[in-house]
Symmetry: D2
Subunit: 351 residues, 4 copies
C-alpha cells in the first residue's frame, strides 16, 4: 500500500548533509518549504500616496540643481516604503520628470516600455520614432519598448509629467538594455500628431499600409480632451463597474489589446459621492489623479488623494475607491495585469 | 513505369455509360472538365454604375406608390446586368431604401448582415438591439447578422440610404432566415448614440463590461463628420496607397477586425486630379460616391460617377480610379474581401 | 406619431412601375419578400446514400472505358437528387476516383481544396508539393488549396478513393481556377511520408523551421492505423457526445484549427447498438463508412449504410445515427462547418 | 533653440537634496543611471553543469535521511553559483526529486507551473487532476499552474526525475501560492494515460468536448518512446537547425502554442560528431541529457555533459553544442522563451 514515509535522520546528520549539498551547488527543498509559498499571493509593497503638494517643490528643486546634460533624464523616482528597489510598485515605476523651457531630454531607446501622463505643460512635445507628439495636461503618451524618444520643451513654462515604466520587471528578467541615439534629437516628421491622425478615430485604421506587426499600439497619444469628453458622456448614461465606476481601457486600436504587452492603461470617472465596492486582484496598480479628490481604502488603510497626486495599490490587497469631493474625479492608472494574464497568473476576487 | 493511360471506349459506349450513371445519381467528371475551371477567376457580374440622378426619381416614385405596411422594406434593388439574381455583385446587394416623414420600417432581424450608407436625411434613426442610432448623410450604420433593427423618420423630409447586404452569399449558403419582432418598433434606450459613446473614441474601450464575444463590431455608427475630418487631415500628410489613395478601413474597435465577418467597409479620399494605378483582386466591391466626381476604368471600360452614385467592380477585373473633378472625391466601398481571406481565396495583383 | 404607412397604388400602376425598373437594372424588393427568406434555413439537397455495392462496379467500368490521358481525373461525381449542380452537398462534392496499376493522374493545382479518403489500395501514393504520401485504406490525405498534386498507382491492384472538394463553394464565389504542372509528375522528395514525420507525433512540432503561415494544415496524411487505434482506445474509456458518439476532429497540429479553412474533417466510432440523440446544425456533412453498418435517420427518413458507402446529410435537417450491426462502426465525415463558423452563420440545436 | 542644459549644483548641495528626497520616499534617477542598464542584457547566472554521477548519490542519500512525511517533496535544488536564490536559472528551477518504492508525494496544487523529465523509473506515476500518468525514463510529464498533483511509486525501484518549475519567476511576481489537497492522494480515473488517449495522436483532438479554455496544454504526457522514434526518423531526412540540430518543440495540441505560458519545452537530436553554430538569445535554458555525451561551449567556456546530466545556459550568452560521442545525443530543454516573447523582450542573434 502506497503512503507517505515517516522517518527522519538525526538533526546532526541532516546538517552535515546540508553542508555537503551546499558545497556542490545543491540545496534541500524541504528545509524552506512553507516559507516562500503561502495560501495567498503576498506583496511586499505597501499602499502609498505621493502628494503633488510635496512632489512639485522637489521637482522644481531638481530642475534648479541639475541640468539635462548631467542627468540623462531629470527624474525623481517614487520609492515604495515596502520595497528595497526604487520603484512605486513591484514591477512598475512611477516617477516625475521635469523639462525646463528650452531644454531637451536627449534621444535614446531601451527595452523597458514607458508611458507619460502629463501633469503640467504649456506645449512641449515628445518625438517617438520620428513622430512629434504634443503633450498637454492629462494626455497619455506612449514610448514603447525599443522606440527612439526624446523630449523637448519649446514653451515658456516648465513641463512636468509622470513617467511609468516596466523597468523593475525588465530588470528582474535581466533584459534591461539601451542605446543612445547618434544625436541629441531625432528629426521629426511633418505631421501634427501623426499616430492620432492614423489611428485616433473611432474604428478607422489606415488601409494603405500593412497592419503593424509589433506587439504595442501604433497609437502613441491619447489626448485628454477626447478622453474626458468620452468619460463625461458615458457617466451620464452608464453605471459602470461596481468596483471601478465608469472605467475605460486605452487599447491598441489595431488589435483591441492592451497598449503595451507589459503595461495596461486605464482611466476612470468617479461621480461626486461615488464609493466603489471592494475587490482584489493579482495585479499592481499605480494611480494618478488627473482631477478631483477622494480616497482609496486598501486593506482597511485609508489613502487620501487630490489633484495630481500619485498612489499605488499593491496586488491582492482589497481596495475600494471613493470620490469625497463635489467634483467628478478622474483617475488614470497603469498596471501589470497584462503580464499576469499572459502568464496565467491573473486572479480576481470580489470581497 | 508509371504513366498516363491512353485509351478511350467508342463514343456510343461512353454515352450509354453516362446515361446509366445519370440514372444512379452519378456523373463523369471528365466530360465537363475545363468548362468550369479556368486559369483565372472569372466574374459573371459586369462593372456597372447606377446614377443617383436616375435612382432618386425611382425612389420617390416607389414612396408614392407603396406604403411601409405593404412593403416590409420599401427598397429598390440594383440588378447587375451580368447576374441572373437581383444583386449588384455576386455576394453583395446594393439597394436604395426610402422612409418618408412619420414612417416606420418595422422591427425584424435576419441572418444576412446589413449596412446603411446614408444619402439623404434630416434626422431619422435606426434602432439596433435597443440602441438608437442617428442617421445623417455620409454616416455608416451597421445592423449585423441577427441584430434587431427598425428604422424611423421623425424629420419632415424623406430619408434615403444605400443598403448593403450579404444576402446573395447567405442564400448561396442556404442559411437565410429571419424573425419578426413582436411589435412594430423596439423600445430605444436612453443614450444618444450609445455605441459611439462606448467604442467611438480612438482606442478607448469600456472596461466595466466584458469584451464582446460576437464576431461583429460593437460600434454600429461611424459618423461622417468624424470620417471626413480624418481623411482630410491624413490626405494633407500622406500619399496613401498607389492603388487606392488615402484609404481607411472601418474596423471593429474591440479587435481591429473587419466590421462584420462577411462585409469589409472602406472609405477613400481622392485628391482632385488623382489617378490611381491599376490592380485586381479576388473580391467584389460596391462603391458609393459620398461626394465628388470621377471615373473608374475597369478592364478598359470607363464608368463615370458623381455625387451619390453607386457602382460595382466585380472580382479580378483590373481597375483604376480617378478624381476628374476639382473637389476632393470621397468613396465609400464595401466588399466581400473578409470572406475571401477567411476561406484562403484572396489573391491580389498589381497590373 | 411614427407608424407604418398603409397605402398602395393600383396594381396596373405598380406593374408599369416594375417594368420601368426592370429596364433600368432595378427591381422592387417587396414583391419577392418572404419568398427567399423563411423562419429557418432550408437546404435544397436531400439526404441520400450512395452504396459501394453500386458505386464500385461503375468505377471499374469507368476505368475500362476511359484512360487518364482522356480524363484529367477519372472521377465519378455523386449528384444529390435535390441539387441542380453535380455535387453531393451544396458546398461540397463527394466523388469516386480510380487509378489503375501503372497509371498516373497528372500533376496540377487549383483553388478548390481537396481531401482523399482511401477506399481500396495496395500501395499507391499522392505527391503533394513534393512530399510523397502513401495511401492505404481509411487514410485521410489532404491536397489543400493551390498545392501541386499528382496521384500514382505502383501496386498491382486498382486504387479507389473518395474525393471531397469544396469546389461548389469556390464556384459560387467565382474563384475557381487552376494551373497545370509542366510535367506529368512532380519529383518526390526522399522522405517516406515527410509531413507525418514532422507533424504527426502528438504535440511535437519541428522547431528548426518557422511555423507555417498558410491557413491549412502542414500535416497532409492521417493514417488510419493510428486513427483507428485512437478511437478504439477512447471508446473504451469515454461516452463521447450524445449526438455523435466518440468523435474526433482531424486538426492542423500547428494551430489546432480545422485542417483546411473550408472543410472540417471528423471521424467517429459508434459502438454496436449505439444510437445517438437527434440534433441539427447549419452545416452540410458528407459521410463515408470506413467500416461497419447502420443507419442515419434524417428528418424522419431512414438511410441504411454499410462498409464503404457514402451518404450526405444536408444542413438543418434533424438527424441521428445508429450502429445496427455487431461490429464497431467508423464514420469519416467532412463538412462546411468551418465556413459557417468563420462567417458567423453557424447555428446548432438539440432536438 | 532647444538644447541640453549644462549646469550642476555643488556636490554638497546635491547630497543634501538627496537626503531630503530619501526622507520623502523619493530618489534621483540620474545618480544611478548607467548602472543598471547596459547596452546588452546581462545575466547574473553562470553556465553550469550538474553531473548525474554526483547528483545521484545525493539523491539516494536524501532518500535515506528524510521521509516524504517530513519533506512535502523530497527534492534537491540545483543552485546556480551566480545567483543568490536557489535555482538553476534566473526564472526556472532544475531540481531532482526522489520517490521510493511504496511512497507517495502528497497531493497539492500551486500557482507555479511544473514539469517532470523522468530519469529513473520502473513504473511510478503522477496523478494530475485525476488523470493517472505513467512515468518512464525520458518521459515529459506536465503539472501546469494550479493543477492538483501527487506522485506515487508502486514499483520496486526508486524513481528519480528532474523537476522544472517557474517558481523563481512566480516569486518575483509575488503570485506564489498553494493549496493542500484534503487527502494524501487524489482518486485516479480509469483511463490508462487519458490525456495521451485524447490529445496524443497526431492532429486528432476530441470533438465531443469543448476545446480547453485554459492557457496550458491538455496533453500532460509526452512519452519518450514516441519522441525518440520521431527524432530518429527526422534526423535521417532533415538537417535541422544550424544552431540546434533536429529540434522539436513540445506543444499544446489544441493551439500549437508552448505547453505552458511560462515554460517552453524542446527536445533535440545531435548526430555523432555534430557541432552546432553559435548563437545567443534572451531566454534562459535548462538542459537535461536524456542520452549521449558531448559539450556546450558557452561564452568560450566548455561544459562537458553525459547521460542524465543537467546543465544551464543563461540568457544572451553565446553558445554552441557538440555531440562528442559515438552515439546520438538527445537533449531535453526547457526555457522561459514564451515569457520573453509574450512580453516583447525576445531577441536572438547568430554569432
Amino acid at each position: 500500500m502506497l503512503k507517505r514515509s515517516d522517518y527522519s535522520a538525526p538533526e546532526a546528520e541532516l546538517q552535515a548533509f546540508y553542508q555537503q549539498l551546499e558545497a556542490e551547488n545543491l540545496a534541500p527543498l524541504w528545509t524552506q518549504e512553507g516559507q516562500g509559498q503561502g495560501a495567498e499571493p503576498k506583496a511586499k509593497a505597501q499602499p502609498f500616496v505621493w502628494h503633488w503638494r510635496e512632489l512639485r517643490p522637489r521637482a522644481v528643486q531638481a530642475a534648479e540643481l541639475v541640468g539635462t546634460q548631467q542627468a540623462e533624464r531629470r527624474v525623481l523616482l517614487m520609492k515604495n516604503p515596502g520595497l528595497t528597489g526604487r520603484s512605486a510598485a513591484n514591477t512598475l515605476t512611477a516617477n516625475i520628470q521635469v523639462v525646463l523651457p528650452g531644454e531637451v531630454a536627449r534621444a535614446h531607446r531601451h527595452s523597458p516600455a514607458a508611458l507619460r501622463m502629463i501633469i503640467e505643460s504649456k506645449g512641449g512635445y515628445t518625438v517617438v520614432n520620428g513622430d512629434r507628439i504634443p503633450m498637454l495636461p492629462g494626455d497619455l503618451v506612449l514610448t514603447p519598448n525599443w522606440t527612439w524618444h526624446d523630449h523637448a520643451n519649446d514653451s515658456d513654462q516648465p513641463m512636468m509629467w509622470l513617467d511609468g515604466l516596466d523597468s523593475p520587471l525588465v530588470r528582474m528578467l535581466e533584459v534591461d538594455f539601451r542605446e543612445e541615439y547618434h544625436d541629441d534629437r531625432q528629426p521629426a516628421g511633418e505631421g501634427a500628431d501623426p499616430s492620432v491622425a492614423r489611428y485616433g478615430s473611432g474604428g478607422l485604421v489606415p488601409a494603405w499600409e500593412a497592419r503593424p506587426t509589433q506587439r504595442f499600439s501604433p497609437l502613441w497619444h491619447y489626448p485628454y480632451t477626447q478622453v474626458r469628453a468620452t468619460l463625461e458622456a458615458l457617466a451620464r448614461e452608464n453605471a459602470g463597474s461596481p468596483f471601478d465606476g465608469v472605467i475605460m481601457e486605452y487599447t491598441n486600436p489595431s488589435t483591441g489589446e492592451p497598449v503595451m504587452p507589459t503595461i495596461g492603461c486605464y482611466v476612470q470617472w468617479l461621480r461626486p459621492g461615488e464609493h466603489t465596492k471592494a475587490h482584489r486582484h493579482t495585479s499592481n496598480t499605480n494611480y494618478h489623479v488627473i482631477e478631483g479628490s477622494g480616497c482609496a481604502i486598501v486593506n482597511g488603510k485609508r489613502l487620501d488623494w487630490e489633484d495630481k497626486d500619485t498612489f499605488t495599490i499593491p496586488m491582492w490587497q482589497t481596495h475600494e475607491l471613493a470620490n469625497t469631493g463635489d467634483r467628478p474625479a478622474v483617475l488614470f492608472s497603469f498596471t501589470d495585469a497584462p503580464v499576469m494574464k499572459a502568464l496565467d497568473l491573473w486572479r480576481e476576487e470580489a470581497r
